[in-house]
Symmetry: C2
Subunit: 161 residues, 2 copies
């Protein structure tokens, strides 16, 4: 059943839009395969120490980010909407099986569309209010999501996928 598309509201949400010169199918694979996602999903020199993906609504989406000093941040949530090669919606407000989480923060939406031989790449961070949006922006949303998008493109171009 087709989900209601997550929509962008500039009062509450943040957006990264890029035209990238790697094809949709490789972007999809980079985002949905733990071994690949670990190579680019956090700005270096941080690393992804662990990643779990169960690619269906209610299925786990978990990444553990590790600082160069070894400090770890566990980000656990689940997928909400999965349309092959087209969109991926996930949230940290619900754990696997749609169980409410202790630290609800945002819903993420990745939208992909073919653009010649490349991809129009759009990522939303959807929040419950303007304060959370502003706090996510101050945490470095644009730099962070921009940097990892660049890292992803470089990784795909390295031919590792």
């Amino acid at each position: 059943m087709t989900a209601l598309l997550a929509t962008f509201d500039p009062r509450y949400d943040l957006k990264l839009e890029r035209e990238i010169d790697v094809p949709v199918d490789l972007v999809w694979r980079a985002w949905t395969t733990p071994a690949h996602l670990r190579q680019w999903f956090v700005p270096k020199p941080w690393t992804i120490a662990d990643c779990e993906i169960d690619l269906r609504p209610g299925g786990i989406f978990r990444t553990v980010m590790r600082s160069p000093e070894g400090e770890e941040h566990d980000n656990s949530g689940c997928f909400l909407d999965v349309v092959h090669h087209e969109r991926l919606v996930f949230t940290d407000t619900l754990l696997p099986g749609f169980r409410p989480s202790a630290k609800p923060f945002f819903t993420g939406a990745l939208l992909l569309a073919p653009l010649g031989s490349g991809t129009r790449y759009t990522a939303f961070a959807i929040h419950g209010d303007a304060e959370t949006r502003d706090s996510h922006e101050k945490m470095g949303f644009h730099d962070g999501w921009g940097t990892v998008a660049t890292q992803m493109v470089d990784y795909i171009k390295s031919g590792a996928l």
Copy 2:
């Protein structure tokens, strides 16, 4: 794409199980049609003053409960998983379009299965921790959800659907 089924954990969750002598298709219709849902979804003499249903993941599920004195409670959320005649999962932790809500409390799951000419009717309330479970229980989960299940069966038997 088939969702990961919401599962019941007795430490965190509450459950109502009934065998009822009305068929699955009418239970489904009673739950998914605003005009019908308004007739039974809150214990009388409370009433449902308004109801909105957009029956797809991310689609609105909103009910407004009104006390005999006219006090209103707005419960807004969205559906997460919709399998015709089989299951309905919804939450108040996310608003329509999967936007995080200001008052996350629980995820609800309704599971239906044919049982002769009747229905095995199972409803879960899924919480993030034991404290929320206990508070929902003290709010009268079992009485409340039991009473409305009885009201629903009576309404279906009245022939109004």
